[in-house]
Subunit: 213 residues, 2 copies
């Protein structure tokens, strides 16, 4: 367990990005890829690709490159996405509804097994994905019943902390926070904050410095 | 312009994250911060913080750290977010509606000035943000009229490429693609793909390797 602490989080994020490019390469019919090509596709430098993969073993063949299918399998194993994960969404407004329908989640083995809200007008309503919106009061019970391992928070900012607290009390150890606020969790819980505006900053940087706008 | 090519994209992303932590530090009443503390808050190592900022100048005082307010201003300038940017959203389903209402965009100077769809039942309808949904056929005209600099694509995957083409024809040089597909653009156009599942992979990695799940 200790070893993983030494691997930078940025490496893990890049593995995920390498994996997506490998999928596209496979789709395009490639069987092998050089670290140079993979790096170019992912907008990093080739030494970075070799270093990131080097934390986990020897995956390439010198002068030949990486096997596109084999490397995908290796990365899936490292990222622990070689199995399915169940998640639940709390807050079924526009964003929660969008995530319920998002095709990428089931395609990648992330199954939304429950949707919660505290609005009596929403509770009991069916979602496009075939779930029935449940009362937030049923969260703890549903976590056990459905083996919910990851909690998505798509509530307004004011409700985010109390929802996080409920997830933690229900022994959900991983939270994806889409609400525009920070939440405080104990060390036993992992949080990923989704902030769309970080990507926008990258874009404005490039617009300004590369395109001169 | 050439110089920016030598700065890694990951550095730009981290500047954006440093900036957000500096805001929170200011909110919490801090006036100075060490590279160690800033690094810890951002989950990177202190040498990385110093290296990233070092691309752009000398911002800290040895043994004292960084001025929380001044460094925010410097980073805003580097990222070109020291001014406002206008964007438009194409595809007003759940995700498009969620983004229209998202508080973080206006708070960070990103103004949604137009919303488009091709559904006759949606065109002309008001949005929660006070816009009226426009016909996608009006895109080119609206880009000029409203000075739209960034285009968000929140359509189904099947429509994403044709919307990207329209943005490009209308001289919008930056696209944020939320649709679960890749789009192809010429070199004059910048694209950021938003893939929520990359963040999930980081979480599953940590769940598996750090929490043993």
């Amino acid at each position: 367990m200790g070893k993983s602490n030494r691997i930078p989080k940025a490496t893990i994020t890049r593995l995920s990005i390498y994996y997506r490019q490998l999928e596209l390469l496979e789709f395009d019919g490639y069987r092998m890829v050089s670290s140079e090509k993979l790096a170019w596709l992912c907008q990093v430098n080739p030494a970075q690709v070799r270093k990131d993969l080097g934390y986990f073993g020897e995956f390439g063949v010198r002068g030949v490159g990486y096997d596109v299918i084999d490397l995908q399998a290796q990365i899936k194993k490292i990222l622990a996405v070689n199995r399915e994960w169940n998640f639940a969404i709390v807050g079924i407004g526009n964003l929660g509804s969008a995530l319920l329908e998002h095709q990428n989640f089931p395609a990648r083995g992330f199954n939304c097994v429950a949707a919660f809200d505290n609005d009596p007008l929403k509770i009991g309503k069916p979602t496009a994905a075939g779930l029935s919106i449940r009362d937030i009061e049923e969260l703890e019970e549903a976590v056990k019943e459905l083996n919910i391992e990851i909690g998505f928070i798509t509530t307004p900012a004011t409700a985010a902390q109390s929802v996080a607290d409920r997830f933690i009390m229900a022994n959900v150890n991983a939270i994806v926070n889409f609400s525009p606020t920070r939440i405080i969790v104990p060390d036993c819980c992992l949080v990923e904050n989704i902030d769309f505006t970080v990507k926008l900053d990258t874009l404005t940087y490039e617009l300004h410095h590369e395109l001169g706008i």
